[in-house]
């Protein structure tokens, strides 16, 4: 692998293995670096905003109270939307995983993929036009509807690795149904379910930002108003906070996925 040797050479197996270990170390390092980078981004934003002279269009968005309110609104929409999508989508994906083994798998993958094209903005707008009562809950319901099929898809694909013959083998060596579930299905299926959680949170956190356009609030309001009023510092604050929130959520689920992954896979 080293650059010093003849370029025509392919790496020997030992050399590859060493390099792969180095790769794992690098990945762990990168994993640990994420929280630090996110904290750094927040600190940088804070320093930057403090140094600005804020005008009347900027000031109201950037008080601690306003930002806290936006953040809470955002988290409520994200949590409700993703939670509902997980509650429906994960069992749906588990059911679909069985169909995957048989014939209908291709159709399901295609359906899940087309569903990813559903525009969150459009579904949010439709929900707002249809109900027009409590924007935050409508938004959460819309996000759940957008996320549910992609969640089911990623769960079904992840579960494909859990071969049914494994369960049968476990039953064959004398495990009860409950034991087989606890010792085979759960450890092998948990990473797939967590992947579903990650997809749900990703779609919900990004979609909740668009809910600002239907009057549901959230961090998207900063970006919307910043663009409208042409105030870069407001856009910057909204974008950085939104990005940090999304990456932090993603990081937490990835951490859980890494911990839940059975050794040897």
């Amino acid at each position: 692998m080293s650059a010093g040797r003849a370029p025509a050479e392919l790496p020997a197996l030992d050399e590859l293995r060493l390099a792969r270990d180095a790769g794992a170390g690098l990945r762990i390092a990168g994993f640990l670096a994420v929280p630090a980078l996110l904290a750094l981004a927040c600190a940088g934003l804070w320093l930057h905003v403090r140094r600005q002279h804020l005008d009347a269009l900027e000031q109201p968005h950037l008080t601690a109270d306003a930002i806290r309110d936006s953040l809470v609104q955002h988290l409520v929409m994200t949590g409700l939307g993703a939670g509902a999508a997980v509650l429906v989508g994960v069992p749906l994906g588990m059911l679909a995983a069985r169909a995957l083994g048989r014939g209908g798998g291709r159709a399901l993958i295609t359906l899940g993929n087309v569903a990813r094209a559903a525009p969150a903005l459009g579904v949010l707008v439709l929900a707002a036009l249809l109900v027009d009562e409590r924007p935050r809950y409508e938004a959460a319901a819309a996000l759940a509807a957008v996320a549910v099929l992609p969640v089911a898809r990623v769960v079904a694909v992840g579960l494909r690795r859990v071969d049914r013959s494994l369960i049968e083998a476990a039953r064959g060596v004398g495990m009860t149904r409950g034991e087989a579930w606890r010792r085979i299905s759960l450890p092998l299926g948990l990473p797939a379910a967590l992947a579903g959680v990650r997809v749900a949170l990703g779609i919900a956190v990004a979609g909740a930002a668009l809910a600002a356009y239907t009057g549901a609030g959230g961090l998207g309001e900063l970006i919307r108003d910043g663009i409208r009023d042409e105030r870069d510092v407001v856009i910057l604050a909204g974008a950085v906070l939104l990005g940090v929130l999304a990456l932090a959520l993603d990081w937490f689920v990835r951490l859980a996925e890494a911990l839940a992954r059975p050794r040897g896979t």
Partner: protein, 214 residues
Amino acid sequence: MGFVDHLADRWRTLVELAGEHAALVAIAVALATVVALALAIPLRRRPWAAGVLVGAGGALLAVPSLATLGLLTMVIDRGDLAALIALAICAVGPVLRGAVTGLRGVDPATLEAASGAGMGPGARLMRIELPLAWPAILAGMRVATAITLGIGAIAAVIDGPGLGEEILLGLSRDGASDALDIALGGVLGVLVLGILFEAAYALARRLTVPRGIR
């Protein structure tokens, strides 16, 4: 006025916006594919690079597109250009994942056979590695296309092109009798594009993936 009459009425506008939307997505995915291959090909023999590239691509996808779009409007004045770049950034992740998986999935014995047959690095890449990685790259492009189609609607919030215009128009007419029809037309338009792209990818797979690895 029913939804069908509405569609008949606004047919031309919808087709025009759908064309813009499709073009925006297609260019963004093409751009993302070029970037992903430009990263994945030179780094395909570096074992550390696989995790780093896939992780970085996943992070790009995890950042909400409105945040990316907002940041881009600070430096780019043209709405369509900012939207295009925001979409391309979202699309890089899935394509990168496909390219890394595909290129690293090539059997080492196959590579050694290619070298042993007298292929130089360039011939090996073009005749062996890329053809074998192509199904995975294509699958990544397919996922990227679906995701950017959905995200593409937000281009309208910065006056970018596409069916998002129709969705926001419906929102702005909240209370009017045709508001829902207009927004629904935009949403369904995106889904129809999704089905058409899906069919196009199925066809592309049939036509471009060699029979031996289909």
